[in-house]
């Protein structure tokens, strides 16, 4: 792994540019412009900008990936005309939504109506400042990245409910209430499944969790936790079979019925952003993150940005599974969803915690092989 982090790269970049500008400036200017505080401040901004652009591009690529996969599942070709194999279709769609006017219902509450989607998107983007995409991508060595990421992830129902309630539409309100009920119900098994990972890895830090999986990915020993996590994540992402809050057959478009133009684009974009976050979390927690098992030849793991590429490949494969589920399952009903959440998922999650505890105690299970790094 290279020692250069994204932050150090952006710091060097800003430093080099400012030094070049400073070398042609007269006396007070050249000292002021190479001021370390200014360089640090600008470096953070550049870091954030790179992160934002990378995130957005990835999300747009993810939408394309889903469209193409769904097309194949449905025996059609999906977007084909804008760009190679429709790669630029989402940019065209986004541009179309961008230059539409925002139509606010007259009786809607302006503050809630406008701030809901914005806060929803910003809160979800915030997670990308926390998620370690590769060894050099995490913005800071926080000891509790996992908790922070999941805490920010669970902001969403609040913003959805705010925008649903303030649009002053019965369908939106029902969708918002369903969304809040569903997300709160599935937050619990999601966190409990994560606890199993934390017990085995012995850390709340995502980077540590990934390095603990250097030799053995957690999906094998923690298979039950993986199942619970993926199912709860499907509910958190509001995808079929758990897409009740925006069940188009009964609630028109659910909580975003009254939204159009750019605000609708915010919602759509953030849905996929959260899908991306969910898939990345699955990879980080259960599928070894950016590390590869030792049997992979060194040539494949040592090229520049190898970690990011590995992680993204895994992420897109995990997301393909989500798309597969979407293409082949019907939607469940609200009461059934909540019943499954409280009656089945939570006991299963607790069971997976128990299994994780047993695993840590025993350290070596013949069925799963040994996990050498356990119990440090």
């Amino acid at each position: 792994m290279s020692s250069a982090t994204l932050y150090s790269v952006s710091y060097d970049l800003v430093h080099a540019i400012l030094a070049a500008i400073g070398s042609v400036l007269p006396y007070p200017g050249n000292v002021w412009i190479t001021n370390p505080d200014l360089i640090t401040g600008l470096a953070v901004l550049v870091f954030g900008a790179i992160l934002l652009v990378a995130t957005m591009l990835n999300t747009i690529l993810l939408i394309w990936w889903e469209r193409k996969l769904l097309g194949r599942f449905m025996d059609r070709r999906a977007a084909m005309h804008v760009g190679f194999a429709g790669l630029l279709q989402n940019f065209a769609d986004g541009f179309k939504l961008f230059h539409k006017s925002t139509v606010k219902p007259r009786e809607a509450d302006t503050l809630g109506y406008l701030s809901g989607p914005t806060a929803y998107m910003v809160a979800s983007l915030l997670i990308f400042g926390i998620l370690p995409i590769s060894s050099g991508w995490n913005s800071g060595a926080l000891p509790l990245t996992l908790l922070l990421a999941l805490a920010v992830f669970s902001f969403a129902p609040l913003f959805i409910f705010v925008s649903a309630w303030s649009s002053n539409n019965k369908y939106s309100l029902m969708g918002g209430m369903r969304s809040a009920a569903q997300m709160i119900a599935y937050e619990v098994p999601l966190l409990l499944a994560v606890v199993a990972v934390v017990i085995v890895a012995g850390s709340f830090d995502l980077t540590t969790i990934v390095y603990e999986q250097q030799n053995y990915w957690f999906w094998g020993p923690l298979f039950l936790a993986l199942i619970v996590f993926v199912a709860a994540m499907l509910a958190e992402m509001e995808r079929i079979p758990f897409d009740l809050p925006e069940a188009e057959a009964e609630l028109v478009e659910g909580w975003n019925t009254e939204y159009g133009g750019m605000l609708f684009a915010f919602f759509m974009f953030t849905d996929y952003l959260r899908a991306l976050i969910g898939s990345i979390l699955v990879v980080l927690l259960f599928l070894g993150g950016w590390t590869m098992p030792s049997w992979v030849p060194a040539a494949a793991t040592s090229f520049p940005l190898a970690g990011i590429v590995w992680l993204m490949v895994k992420t897109y494969i995990v997301f393909a599974l989500f798309v597969w589920v979407r293409a082949s399952l019907p939607r469940v009903r609200t009461d059934q969803l909540l019943r499954v959440g409280w009656n089945r998922m939570i006991p299963l999650a607790l069971l997976s915690i128990f299994l994780a505890a047993v695993l840590v105690t025993v350290r070596c299970l013949p069925a799963f092989g040994c996990i050498p790094s356990l119990g440090t």
Partner: protein, 381 residues
Amino acid sequence: MSEMWINMGPQHPMTHGLWNLRVKIDGEVIVDVDPELGYLHRGIEKISEDRHYNEVVTLMDRTCYVAGLAWEHLYIIASEKALHIEPPERAEYLRVMCEEFQRLGSHIMWFSAFVVDIGLLTPLLYGMRDRDLVLDLFQSYTGARMTYEYMRVGGVRNDLPPGFTDRARTVLDWLMARFDEYDKLTLGSDIFHKRCDNLGILKANDCIAHGVTGPMLRSAGVKRDLRKDRPYAAYDRVEFDVAGADSADVTGRYLVRMEEMRQSVRILRQVLDWLDRNPGPVMARELPRWLGAPYAPVGREGYLLKRNYPKGVGFSSIEEPHGEAQAYIVNEGGEHPYRVKLKSPVFSNISAARQYLVGYRVADIPPIMGSVDVCIGESDR
């Protein structure tokens, strides 16, 4: 949340047409419903009084846009009775073929819409893809994919193009294989059973009390099918079974419709064989002169003048894809029917909505209404 009325429609993804279902809900539970029809009323019955007998056929195509040929058939049987005209046997077989292909097309269309109601998107496109093959067949012998204008008083407009029966058999083989695929995608899923079993129950007594017919009635254990009970056209000369179920719920209606499609394929294979063996005329020879014009070929002899033509009334009822449709035509002499009265099965089926919706949840409305197979064009006319 206290009880409130919400309007599901007229623009709502659940409706599958232009109508409004007013629902009174208490939280997520349905307390009362009030279906409102009439948004798509075009006055087809009244317009028919001002049209030539054969021109009314174009209006019949537009009563139900997914089952146009079935409605043409209904109208043509009634008007032939009113006009005392006997169609040749080959025309009757061709009409049976039309109606059964139409049943396939309509049921596949229903399947596509129904699976979307429970959140399945993939079978929607599978259904539309397979329905296209049926539409291709329609196009090859009627010239149109949607509004066919194929039947005429005294027969049908034209015979089949060469090679049609073989192409049709290929399509039927393909469809039979696809029906199993549909079943895997729906019945093979536990979620489907969770959503649809014991849902929207309408028992046989209630069906009969509300005049509910078609697959809804048959799914309640009443094996009533006009093709069997009161055979018309060539239905007494083909073999098939009446599909049925006992559960009276959404799954039952699904099973009945899937079985009906398989039976339609069975009927179609017999009809195609018969058509191959028995060439012949497709129009009655002794048509009144004024009825031949302007499109249909005119018989060589036996022209009857308008003033001499006998008066009469004609009643017909057929097993349309949605249920039992009825037509009553009064012929007071002349080129136009004096009165055309149509009875749509969908109208009765929707009217019983309170019976099969109250007590379930809002999320159950799309599957239940989807299982009714709503076609607003024919209920509003």
